[in-house]
């Protein structure tokens, strides 16, 4: 680019300073060079390589070739003007090779580019936007030219070729294995990317839960089954006078009524309590056969910790690529209008109905954006009094919604305390008391967002802010309600209110002979209830609603309308379910596999209801940013579960009557005690790793790396800004030169007329 600019400045100077000779010829050459320069720009635009070094070399060689051609023509023929102009006109005709006016010839990217492209691998051909016959021609040219490569390079190339072929075959086979690929494709085609991202998130959770179950089964479940026999209860420490703490009778006594089995299945009591499902069944077996050593309590603890780490790694890996893209795209602030216009259409949308809906949704998006712009200009023009009034109203309404949320928390607290107190009740009423916390949580999660939505209508925020605020409120409500439930349980177990029952065994032995199993049961009940409520909503609300809307055509049906598939609410449900599983996995090791089954069935249920009952959402949810949002909320849930796990591991005394940690004072104690059985060398090495002599240099080193990466990012940002400014300048230069061409062509036209006049008058004499 720069060389061309210099070239043209040179010609301008030439044109201006030449006082003798055919001035018009030189200025015409200058004009012709400009035209071919414009041509070069067009070709380069077609080849999308403006800012690389290749460009300037190619373009300048091309243009110099053109210029020398023109020079030769001008000097050779006496009829120079016409010859040169004809060649220029032919040149421009190759650009407009269509009789329908000046169309742009995209196929005119010449194979001269191949001269520069020696080292490009054969894959480059696919990335050229050319029709097939041109690509084939280029390939033949490439194949004919035998490149001078060493045997090492040719070996490399053949290996790369076979590797890509292998990858293509493997990809073909792999596509058959991917779960639900066709179903997701169909959902995306009919309902758009937002709904599809919900189902992809669901699929991710199914796979995550299944793999966690594999982990737990391999290290906890199967060894426990295999080594069932040995139970070293004589390993208790400090067993004087604590016999009461070891009382635990979970097996049902006497004759059990038939329906009791069903109730037990739903609430995890009775025959289900003393089984592999819950913590209480596992023993503190330490197998020490010849050469084979397996410490079950240690395995149990480390598997739980590793399960959390594994889930974190999976979530971050999944966030990886999308986050990278989102961070890159957020710094640049590309406007929403261009984005909607250029990237808004989903080309896989099939059917007239889907197309019309998509068009309506785009229209709606545009209206929302224009509305927001209008709102912004309006708020900017409010008087001081109006602004103060608006803000005070907003503060009051926020306070009001907060009150609702706190009321829900209080309700959960009371319900949990009451339910824990009714442990002895039986029958259906007993079941209801057992499920009371779940019922209150679900009701709260349903009612409070509705109230907050009504409040939000008066707050006067822009539509996108309203949506984000509603989402945050729902997330806060769900997560903290679960936290309140856990807090209530923990305060009962560790006797916050009155410390009398905890004197004997350091935990509330009277109410919770095996408290870990009770917590596990609570989590199990939450999971089951969540699933049952979803199925119940499906059968009792969504199907009847559709039948009602379809067969009854009164004004009420038009107001109610078909069910819309609300992606945020459904996603929050999934995140809530997964958080419950994470919290309960330590106490109920089989909960991940139950959750896998639950989510698996949920996929099919939601798919059925989507296709039968729902209409596509008008307010679309952008898919990439929404995936990141789902994963961030999932991380919140993970954090909450992590806090619960750490507190249980480190603070609360394990039950003395059940479980693998019955002889320890905290669950974490198994790790230090095993640590001291390692060899002295390992111990000293690990001590060194944890000491300051190692960690402070490590910390300093990571700070240095962080600074380096931050500086690199700043440099890239700067260069992007510079390039943008350069682009602007190039555009202005182009306009300046176009104006110059116009003036010059006018001048030439005037001079030609004068010349013709003098020639005529000369000839006439």
């Amino acid at each position: 680019m720069l060389s061309l600019l210099l070239e043209n400045i040179f010609f301008t100077w030439l044109g201006i300073t030449s006082v003798s000779g055919p001035v018009y010829q030189i200025t015409f050459i200058y004009g012709a060079s400009l035209v071919c320069w414009m041509d070069c720009i067009n070709i380069s635009a077609a080849r999308d390589r403006e800012l690389t070094g290749d460009f300037s070399v190619v373009e300048s060689t091309e243009c110099l070739m053109e210029l020398s051609e023109l020079h030769r023509q001008t000097s050779a023929t006496g009829n120079s003007y016409h010859g040169a102009s004809q060649s220029v006109r032919l040149r421009s005709k190759s650009v407009a090779s269509n009789q329908n006016g000046p169309t742009f010839n995209w196929g005119s990217s010449p194979t001269q580019g191949e001269v520069q492209n020696e080292s490009g691998p054969f894959l480059d051909l696919r990335e050229r936007p050319l029709p097939m016959h041109l690509k084939r021609a280029i390939r033949e040219v490439q194949q004919m030219r035998v490149p001078v490569v060493t045997s090492w390079q040719s070996w490399q190339r053949s290996k790369a070729k076979s590797l890509s072929r292998f990858r293509a075959e493997a990809g073909g086979i792999f596509s058959y294995i991917i779960l639900w690929r066709k179903a997701l494709h169909k959902i995306g085609g009919h309902f758009g990317g937002g709904v599809q991202s919900y189902f992809m998130f669901l699929r991710f959770l199914v796979v995550l839960n299944f793999m966690s179950f594999m982990l737990i089964a391999a290290f906890v479940l199967i060894p426990s089954i295999v080594f069932k026999s040995t139970s070293t209860t004589n390993m208790t420490i400090g067993s004087t006078g604590q016999e009461k703490c070891k009382e635990y009778n979970p097996n049902p006594q006497g004759l059990v009524l038939f329906y009791q089995y069903f109730l037990d299945l739903l609430s995890g009591t009775g025959f289900m309590e003393y089984s592999y499902l819950f913590y209480g069944y596992y023993n503190d077996t330490v197998v020490d056969n010849s050469g084979f050593h397996y410490n079950l309590p240690l395995a149990y603890l480390l598997t739980s910790v590793f399960y959390f780490a594994f889930c974190l790694i999976c979530i971050i890996a999944r966030m990886g690529s999308t986050l990278h893209v989102a961070v890159a795209t957020s710094s640049g602030a590309i406007g929403t209008y261009s984005k909607i216009m250029f990237t808004g259409w989903d080309y896989d949308c099939r059917g007239d109905q889907a197309t019309k809906l998509k068009q309506k949704s785009i229209h709606y998006q545009l209206q929302v954006e224009l509305e927001e712009q209008r709102l912004q200009t309006m708020t900017a023009s409010l008087t001081l009094g109006q602004t103060v009034g608006l803000y005070s109203l907003r503060v009051f309404l926020m306070f009001l919604s907060f009150t609702f949320i706190v009321a829900a928390f209080f309700g959960i607290f009371e319900a949990t305390t009451f339910s824990q107190g009714q442990v002895g009740a039986s029958g259906i009423l007993g079941l209801i008391w057992q499920y009371l916390p779940s019922i209150v949580i679900t009701t709260g999660n349903f009612v409070v967002p509705l109230l907050c939505d009504q409040i939000a209508r008066f707050e006067g925020y822009s539509p996108s802010t309203t949506i984000i605020l509603a989402l945050f409120r729902s997330v806060f409500l769900r997560m903290v309600s679960l936290g309140v439930l856990l807090f209530t349980l923990w305060s009962n177990i560790t006797c916050f209110k009155d410390s009398q029952p905890c004197q004997l065994c350091q935990y509330n032995q009277k109410d919770y002979p095996c408290w870990e199993t009770s917590v596990g049961q609570e989590m199990y009940k939450l999971t089951m209830f969540d699933f049952l409520i979803t199925i119940a909503m499906l059968i009792l609300v969504e199907f009847p609603r559709r039948l009602f809307v379809d067969h009854c055509s009164c004004a009420l049906t038009r107001w109610v309308g078909r069910q819309e598939f609300l992606v945020p609410a459904n996603v929050l449900g999934l995140v809530y379910g997964q958080t419950v599983v994470w919290t309960g996995a330590l106490f109920c090791p089989l909960l991940p596999v139950i959750n896998t089954l639950k989510f698996f069935l949920l996929f099919y249920c939601k798919k059925v209801t989507l296709f039968s009952n729902c209409c596509p959402p008008v307010k679309t949810f952008r898919s990439t940013t929404s995936t990141i949002f789902f994963l961030v909320v999932l991380l919140f849930g993970w954090g909450l579960a992590l806090v619960a796990m750490i507190y249980s591991l480190a603070q609360i005394h394990p039950s003395q009557s059940c479980g693998p940690f019955r002889s320890l004072s905290t669950m974490w104690e198994i790790v230090p005690s095993t640590f001291y059985t390692l060899s002295l060398l390992t111990q000293s090495f690990l001590f060194y790793m944890g000491s300051q002599a190692f960690s402070i240099p490590l910390f300093v080193f990571s700070c240095v790396v962080l600074c380096y990466v931050a500086a690199l990012a700043a440099v890239y940002g700067n260069s992007v800004n510079l390039l943008k400014a350069q682009l602007k300048l190039e555009g202005r230069d182009k306009q300046f030169l176009v104006k110059q061409i116009e003036e010059l062509s006018q001048k030439i036209g005037v001079q030609m007329r004068d010349k013709a006049d003098t020639f005529d008058s000369g000839a006439a004499h």
């Binding site: 742009f104 261009s338 068009q359 229209h363």
Partner: protein
């Protein structure tokens, strides 16, 4: 009976695999769909066999796409510019809309599809036609002239970097590169 006359040769198949982003199954499926649309009497696919635009637009994947005519015109290599496609044009189309096509290819072809007057840039007229295609031209989704003007002004303000009143290919690709959803939405799978 026996082998169909329109089987793809093995070396042709591998050539297509090298020159497009399609896998072997996708190419064979495309071949099948292409021959189904040919008239019954002559089901042989040669390099010069052309399908008229009406036949192409009868495919369910393209039937209700508002850009269907532009897509046919962009990928067509016919001299009469009637939007008819040979089998190789059809493969080029599917390759640009496939899963594994790069962002550059997709944005290049998207630009050409949006360039309604084929002059190499997106000016106000192109943008207006684009808006009408995207929102449909039914009564309840049409924008008022004032809204249309405001919209085009906003788009040019956001994407026209050199301020020449049009959006050229580089500016378009700059906008596209900032949008992570584009690659997954610019897709047509048979």
């Amino acid at each position: 009976m026996g082998t169909t006359a329109s089987q793809l040769g093995k070396d042709l198949l591998s050539e297509y695999q090298e020159l497009t982003f399609l896998t072997k199954q996708e190419i064979l499926l495309a071949h099948k769909r292409f021959t189904e649309l040919l008239p019954k009497e002559d089901r042989t696919v040669q390099s010069t066999t052309r399908l008229s635009m009406e036949k192409i637009l009868s495919m369910p994947e393209l039937k209700s796409n508002p850009f269907r005519k532009r897509i046919c015109h962009v990928f067509s290599t016919s001299d009469t510019k009637d939007g008819s496609l040979t089998f190789e044009d059809f493969l080029d189309l599917l390759s640009a809309f496939s899963d594994s096509a790069t962002l550059e290819i997709k944005s290049h072809y998207a630009f050409r599809i949006f360039d309604f007057d084929d002059d190499g840039t997106l000016d106000g007229g192109d943008l207006e036609k684009l808006v009408n295609c995207l929102t449909g031209e039914t009564d309840d989704t049409r924008l008022t002239p004032e809204e249309m003007r405001q919209l085009i002004r906003n788009i040019l303000e956001e994407s026209d970097i050199d301020k020449d009143g049009t959006v050229n290919l580089s500016e378009f690709q700059h906008v596209i590169s900032r949008s992570p959803d584009f690659v997954s939405s610019f897709k047509i799978v048979l």
